[in-house]
Symmetry: C3
Subunit: 658 residues, 3 copies
């Protein structure tokens, strides 16, 4: 449990650096991330390298005992580089090159830019790779920010054709897989294939899905060029990338495979405003953030690099980039920080040390105001540092990855598939996965979010919110899974090639879930089918299926008597987009059947168990009287949970492992 | 009354064909439409023609006694053709060429593509024109789908200039007609005129209207190239095109003039979702479809080819292309099929035989699922086939075009005019025409929808929802019309050249309606003027006029005492966008004055009279006790109308005439 | 108090002109604006000048004793000119050249077009500059209409680079001012800088603000070319331009500096529909217009040219260009006309004499219908002319600029700043300024709207709704201001370079307002913080600040006890976006503290004091019994104010000063 901060020495007079470092250290910060946007200062003109300022900045931090997270500056190629080869600019879906003047303007597929990115990264790594202050690396910055994964440049077109040729070998196979006989879309060769844009109506879904896969693979390849050279130039230092919440344009699991630490950037208020919550929910959580948004990502990134994960950027006050930018309620920055630790974070690093008075993020708060007075978030971060030390006195400083019994499968390809063929305008896979996750959390359960390729045998409950395509490996694991399973609608409905599921998928559903799907429909706003048979009244909207029971029994039925939730032994198949009450009932029943105890939590309270501790968070503005049944010792916080407060208890040994 | 189906042999293994044909025949299907998207299989490379598979497919159908509706494959030019001459691609309003990868990507004005379309159609017609299985032809597929009528290509620009020169002869005449003196828009020659896009604010309305007329004429010309060659190559076989519901970008009357049979593609649930209904109505009719949507089109296309019309594509289950895609409620596919027959359809042909597992329409249901089991819609189609045979036993199989006494004038140019100068954002001519039509249907009236050039003297009631321009021929017919007339707002308010109406139009209104329009206004949401004097309380929103009565009397007045509905003998002029109750009252009064009896139907029940029969349809989910007063014998269905059920009675001779 | 009209002789047969002029004169019109769109008639082909028709038109008007407001025709360059140099077309933010076919298609930066505009204006001025009928000039027409100020053409790019070089001198200064070190946005030279479009996320705010300033300056330069030549060619005639309501893309103060008379085009119903009012307000005021919309502009333009201002275009009936176009309620055209005179207008000129039957504005009413009968608006204008004569008998015809004690600072740069960094999606500076203005008017106060450079020492109350940047001159005036001040949120929060405010601004706020702003936040819909301590219950939404009181006292507090409204002597700082009740309470208290008496007006009544008179306007549909306390004589209208009526009283001498 360490604190960090993001710092931009190049943006401040050098005479401030020493005091900055001193104050960082004194408030309990130990890690400082720097230089991810500094290319134009490192290389102000082609080949003209200016290291002295950066040398001194690192020395200053080092002198104060701070460790540095060093970055490659590839997210912001400077103007002179762009002007030298404008072909490196990403191209939008209308065929327009994106312009210089903000960030992330490069195309991942451009070979020339890849070479430049390697060159500058190599230079940075060469200079600082073995510097004693450098404790870790970050590649680039927030891949995918501002919708920058998918580019339609000439480089991307060429890359896509080569990618397709590698994947399919011959054009006949592609034609078959894509079903191009439909509407005379057949190709005579790979060199006839363009990116799937500009068509009169939607392009072929397999074509679109492959383009998404290709674009994701390009990110992986781009990132790997950097991780390879960093490992070579800076041995022993872990390499990370800072993922961004709710970005799903590329497969984070695939990028993470090349990293040592998964980090992510947590902006609960910004996400609450820009997320798919209903307006009333956005208002309700405006200054607190929906409690499960950060948790969802904590549990997602925890699994990506064998449990090693950080929050690289933690919101410290109002941000500037959401539609509306409220200020965190008093205490909430502290709450978020502890929530991250409770989910197992090694580091919580605030963005940023001091608010910049200029440029695009001038309205983004920092720990300090731009007049260098400590801002409200800075005060709370100071408190967190103090409390971390206090907790360490009680339990030792060691962090242990929580061991959970519930796994939720989250799959980036499922998201792309749902985006390409939602069938109903509001069928949003990410939203459904989040809703299911939130219900699990409200039941007091700790959750691992895992990819479709994860080994899952050790879990007691496995939840697949809407796993459109079930690959052979996952199918095999489902067939032999000993615990309880909950499958959401559309599970196993598509092949890998993005056709409707074939016999194998039907056989899987028949065997594991005991059902056959006869018909599906999406439902417009205002159409909602009551579901009977669950402990609470529930409804289905947005999506409904007609199930034929082949071995399963109906646990809940629609008013017309057809099955809504089918159970086949320990496996439940939910043939609908249920409301919150419906999901909660199904998940609670599944947990119970798997021998997992759920907890009757007060509204807006969440708990996390970690290493023999239980953390309880009160995300409401009212006082709440709750404590864990098996608590043996309160080690932080009050006995009752005040508004926006948290407490930590030790668990008696019997339940600590659970 | 025959059933048909749309079939794509090229999309399935050849070994399935024989069984497919056998099952079609056995379930009562007699017509099979094929090949409208098969160009890339007929000609996989330039000049390389592959007929054998299609020969065998047709033979297979023929062998089982099925008749074939053969198509020209011109809606989907293959990739090699597009690559050879990319100029054939349609161009959107931003000047971007539309891309290959879906369908309908060609520009109607491109001479090179016209030649190619003639070449491939001629080849198909040459090979199959006299095949004994081929019973009819379809040209292309759904002209206008995906907003593809209006193109801004170089070919279209050249075509437009030539079209203008033919229309106006000299540039001075054009300048006068368009009023280009306004804003210094004057042209010195036709070669200065561009398509009306990209302007700083709206382009000249006459310019825009002429571009719409030109674009519509290009479709007519394109289609006529095919009808000409088909008549030459396949004598005796009727030629059709499948129009699509609620497409108004081209003049369907003009295209139909070159056809033998008008067919249309009926997707009641898709139209309900994508149509201008209020959200609550979309929810209410989500699984049934608004009862009058299909009927409106049945009554529209019935008039286009002297009463010969089919449903070429009948929705058999959920479609894939609407914002939301609900499943038809049980029994509704059957209801739709019978509704078509009740309005006089010769053929109801389902789209499609079997759901395709791949490509863009993989989520579109067929009569069979893609695993080849009979889907719910297939079961209902089978029932329809059985019932058709049953009805034939009672009344003979012969179909007779209904003879109606009410005509509603629907004019594509009026739609374009309202789109170009709506004056209020929600003044939608199509919506108003539909609302008026729906009220007529709720009054139990059979309706012919006719174009502005139709002979109308034999009708007893003529309704013009908002006939912006009244041409001299129609004006003459109105002046001498013996029955009742209802004119909606804005009638006769524009000249053919799309200026404000001149003296002739004012004289017409004065003579026929006895009114003069002093002022018009559009009303924002929330402004609604009560209308007094009708049997029911009513309101006007969206649009209101200030009428001066020159011979007419006020049948209804606004609260300020001004006239809302004027009556001059048998002619009523409605100077407002009335609500449903208002229109119903005015139409009922007009019908009564014309000696037409209206029927007091239960809510959501509709009736059709055809050939001595009366069909009653219950579009509600509750049982309804209604039967025609003059029914002499029930020949199909129950005495009370169950939910989503229909019954057919014979009429006593006295009323069978209508 | 004179009436005028806009007239287009070129659009009508010459035989109508004489009668038109005769009727104008007889209904009381004395000024006729002509020729602003007549370029293609004056010069139908390059260099071919056709003056005879215009000579005769002017002669006809002159013969009837009418005066002419002559225009330069530069808003509509003809097609032959555009075709000769298409580079003159403005370019939109997607890089697409705007097309010929409406108006305002030129780019202000294009040197070739500037030369052409000078050439044609010089020719017109040469011919008519000393004509005895020509009483005044108008340059061009409605700069900015249809979003035409900001162009991204090649000419604009070059102009911008030169503008930047003039402003910053060297690139290092620009880099510092813009803070380009952020995200490696640094430039090596001015020739690397492009317009701020097409970036992946928002471009640098300083870059964007400078582009807006540059675009505004280009309008000023363009306009000055014309004012210079008109003064030379037509000595003694005042030069005006007709500004348009709610256009804020350029700095009207800067353009007005080169004019003799500021005129504006008043379309209260169109503005009500297109403005930011809530839907219920749009419905409520649909046929009346929000009472303060016209008044706001009257008070704005009155200040621009030392009190000389006209309404150049007064809405006479329904317009054609709003989303919805209702008709003015009976009497409202008269009400608007008198409202303009009550605010000090020299001239109210109606647009237009007669409705055109053709082209884009055929649905725009005139004083006459296109069949040449007098329209409803024409009748009301006739009444106004009669009443003006009546009033003149009572008080003499002389018009005096009102002397007000309240000034509201309205700043175009503040609007651009708020648009560039709104921080919350609904932080609209113009809307806030309008809301504050409206509350002042509802308190019965006369208001001067002034620019940030205005001398303000003579006012008793100074209101700055949200003056983001306070320049040194204004700061100095605030520091020494003797009256009361009300500052809205965000005041003094930015530097001129568009960074967060520096120490100077903080010092100003500390000194004048006694506050320091610790934190700001924007609030999404549904979040509203109650404010306690004002006479009425009030709330803050959209925006809130955390104030530290450094000398000020809290006049109102949020529920958490923090200060919402701070008072420091006579200066109030409002740290929130208050609701109407909140603003009203704060403004009333400030007025009282400044010794200004507020008036307890009935709802929807407004008053204006002018030259010893008080005008009262009833904008409601009900009768209202109100009269000024010090009224000595009623000179026009009734004792009680009927629906949509107005009355004028003489004031007793004691209060006539104001």
């Amino acid at each position: 449990m360490k604190l960090g901060v993001c710092y931009y020495p190049e943006q401040w007079p050098e005479q401030m650096w020493d005091d900055d470092a001193r104050r960082m250290k004194s408030m309990g910060i130990s890690l400082v991330r720097i230089a991810e946007f500094a290319w134009s200062r490192i290389e102000p003109a082609p080949g003209q390298l200016v290291w002295d300022w950066l040398d001194r900045a690192i020395e200053t931090l080092h002198r104060h005992g701070l460790q540095v997270v060093m970055c490659t500056p590839t997210a912001t190629p400077p103007k002179w580089l762009v002007d030298r080869d404008p072909g490196m600019l990403a191209v939008d879906q209308h065929g327009r090159a994106r312009a210089f003047g903000s960030r992330r303007h490069y195309c991942f597929s451009h070979r020339g830019y890849r070479a430049e990115a390697v060159r500058i990264s190599e230079l940075v790594a060469q200079r600082y790779g073995e510097h004693p202050a450098v404790a870790a690396w970050q590649t680039d910055n927030e891949y995918g920010c501002h919708d920058t994964i998918v580019s339609y440049s000439e480089a991307a077109r060429e890359g896509f054709r080569a990618w397709l040729e590698r994947r399919y070998g011959d054009i006949g196979t592609l034609n078959t897989q894509w079903g191009t006989v439909f509407w005379s879309q057949e190709y005579n060769g790979f060199d006839q294939i363009d990116p799937p844009i500009g068509t009169v109506t939607e392009a072929n879904p397999a074509h679109r899905l492959d383009y998404r896969r290709f674009a994701s693979d390009e990110v992986v390849a781009f990132n790997r060029l950097q991780t390879d050279l960093l490992r070579r130039r800076s041995p022993g230092r872990p390499v990370s990338h800072n993922f961004m919440g709710f970005f799903t344009e590329f497969n984070h699991y695939d990028v993470a495979r090349d990293l040592d630490i998964a980090t992510w950037d947590s902006y609960p208020l910004g996400f609450t405003q820009n997320f798919f919550l209903a307006p009333a929910e956005k208002a309700r959580w405006a200054r607190i953030g929906h409690p499960d948004i950060a948790a969802f990502h904590h549990d997602l990134y925890r699994g990506m690099c064998n449990g090693r994960w950080w929050v690289m950027e933690q919101q410290p006050g109002p941000v500037n980039w959401a539609q509306w930018n409220p200020a965190p309620a008093a205490g909430v920055v502290r709450l978020w920080s502890w929530q991250a630790f409770a989910h197992g974070a090694e580091v919580v690093s605030y963005f940023r040390w001091r608010q910049a008075p200029f440029a695009q993020e001038q309205m983004h708060a920092g720990l300090n105001r731009c007049d260098n007075t400590l801002d409200i978030g800075g005060e709370e971060a100071t408190q967190v540092a103090r409390e971390v030390r206090e907790l360490a006195r009680h339990v030792g400083g060691q962090r242990v990855v929580p061991s959970t019994r519930v796994a939720l499968v989250f799959d980036y390809e499922a998201q792309w598939m749902a985006q390409i063929t939602p069938h109903g305008a509001d069928f949003n896979y990410l939203e459904l996965a989040f809703e299911v996750y939130s219900q699990l959390r409200q039941l007091g359960l700790d959750v691992d979010i895992v990819g479709p390729h994860a080994a899952v045998a050790d879990y007691a409950l496995l939840v697949l919110p809407s796993q459109m395509h079930v690959g052979e490996q996952l199918a095999q694991r489902l067939r032999t899974f000993a615990g309880a399973i909950v499958m959401g609608p559309r599970t196993a409905s598509k092949t890998e090639g993005f056709s409707l599921a074939d016999g194998a998928a039907a056989a899987l559903l028949a065997l594991v879930a005991g059902v056959r799907v006869l018909q599906v429909e999406s439902l417009p706003p205002g159409v909602s089918d009551p579901v009977h048979g669950l402990p609470q009244p529930a409804c289905a909207g947005r999506w409904r299926e007609w199930l034929e029971l082949n071995g399963a029994v109906a646990e809940a039925r629609f008013e017309d008597g057809r099955c809504a939730v089918a159970r086949n032994g320990l496996c439940r198949y939910v043939g609908a987009w249920l409301d919150a009450a419906g999901w909660r009932a199904v998940l609670a029943a599944a947990a119970t059947s798997a021998g997992i105890e759920t907890v009757d939590l007060p509204a807006d309270v969440r708990i996390s168990r970690l290493d023999g501790l239980v953390f309880a968070f009160n995300f409401s503005q009212r006082e709440v009287g709750w404590k864990p049944a098996q608590a043996s010792l309160r080690v932080l916080g009050d006995e009752t949970l005040g508004p926006l407060q948290m407490s930590i208890w030790k668990l008696s040994d019997a339940v600590a492992g659970h």
